[in-house]
């Protein structure tokens, strides 16, 4: 049977999450987004042209190591917790359909000058609205220009 009770989201969970992330040492993470006008040339598809990624800042965010690397040769993994308010602002600005689209378009995340690859994205929700996004990241092997 459908739940017909009235629930009016008031944004409380979003504000609490944002405040907690900021209080917990909030930092800024930059999503690496493809340029608005993509490179449709042959050179752009065979690795000749620089991709010209745009840096999309998301704040407040908390960055932490998710677990210690236990296997030889395996790079450590990290977690990035991002305020849903910050994500929603960028989704609106870029006129995207959802936060999932935003993250699926991103080619990585730069935190404190280091590039990380996005392995998985999950969202925590309250009353049907996301208040926190959790990104599972892996450190990229390549150097990233500071």
């Amino acid at each position: 049977m459908a739940d017909l009770s009235t629930q009016n989201p008031c944004g409380l969970a979003q504000r609490v999450a944002t405040a907690l992330l900021r209080a917990g040492g909030g930092t800024t993470a930059c999503l690496q987004m493809p340029p608005l006008q993509g490179d449709a040339t042959n050179a752009g598809q065979i690795g000749l042209n620089a991709p010209g990624f745009l840096s999309l800042p998301l704040a407040p965010a908390v960055f932490r190591k998710s677990r210690v690397a236990m296997q030889d040769g395996q790079l450590p993994k990290y977690e990035l917790l991002i305020s849903a308010d910050a994500v929603a602002a960028q989704v609106t600005q870029l006129q995207l359909s959802s936060a999932q689209t935003l993250f699926s378009m991103a080619c990585g995340v730069v935190v404190a000058g280091k590039l990380f690859l996005i392995e998985a994205v999950s969202a925590s929700e309250s009353q049907g609205a996301a208040y926190l996004y959790r990104l599972l990241l892996q450190e990229a092997c390549g150097e990233w220009p500071a």
């Binding site: 340029p35 490179d39 065979i46």
Partner: protein
């Protein structure tokens, strides 16, 4: 060798665009034929569905000839979860369609070698040849079916090539 790899990819991409214009993907804000070179794109956590991903693996060189003959292995990996219209129950049919497309993409088994570092691309003097595909078994991961087809590409290294 890079010219060989570029020629192979762009030949297959052009053939795919002509054969099945509906097989497209959007990658880095560009909608293009559904085929990509894995090493020329950002790493993806999951293989792209309903698109062909080329990976270059083995390399051998025959130095006993007047020009070096290179032999490279390209793995064409493709996956599908079927269509949303059929709730994924047509994933077997979609994979079979991609199998058939691989066969058609590769024929004829040669192309003029090109240098794409120049604009416009310059034709080189030799051809690039490749073998018939060697299809691997279907790999099932939940609702996703994947297969890898291996192709061996042969090309002579011309003087002046990097």
């Amino acid at each position: 060798m890079q010219n060989t790899k570029d020629t192979f990819y762009i030949t297959l991409r052009s053939r795919l665009a002509a054969m099945n214009p509906a097989r497209t993907m959007t990658l880095r804000a560009v909608t293009r034929p559904g085929i990509l070179v894995g090493e020329a794109e950002a790493p993806l956590p999951q293989p792209m569905l309903d698109a062909f991903t080329l990976s270059w693996t083995a390399l051998q060189a025959d130095l006993q000839l007047p020009a070096i003959l290179t032999q490279m292995t390209c793995e064409i990996q493709y996956s599908t979860a079927g269509t949303q219209t059929n709730a994924g129950l047509d994933r077997g049919r979609c994979l079979e369609e991609m199998d058939y497309e691989v066969l058609k993409l590769l024929y004829p088994y040669s192309a003029q070698k090109m240098n794409y570092t120049q604009n416009p691309a310059a034709a080189l003097e030799t051809m690039v040849f490749w073998s018939e595909p060697e299809f691997g078994p279907i790999v099932t991961l939940r609702d996703r079916l994947s297969r890898t087809a291996k192709v061996t590409i042969f090309a002579f290294e011309e003087q002046g090539e990097q």
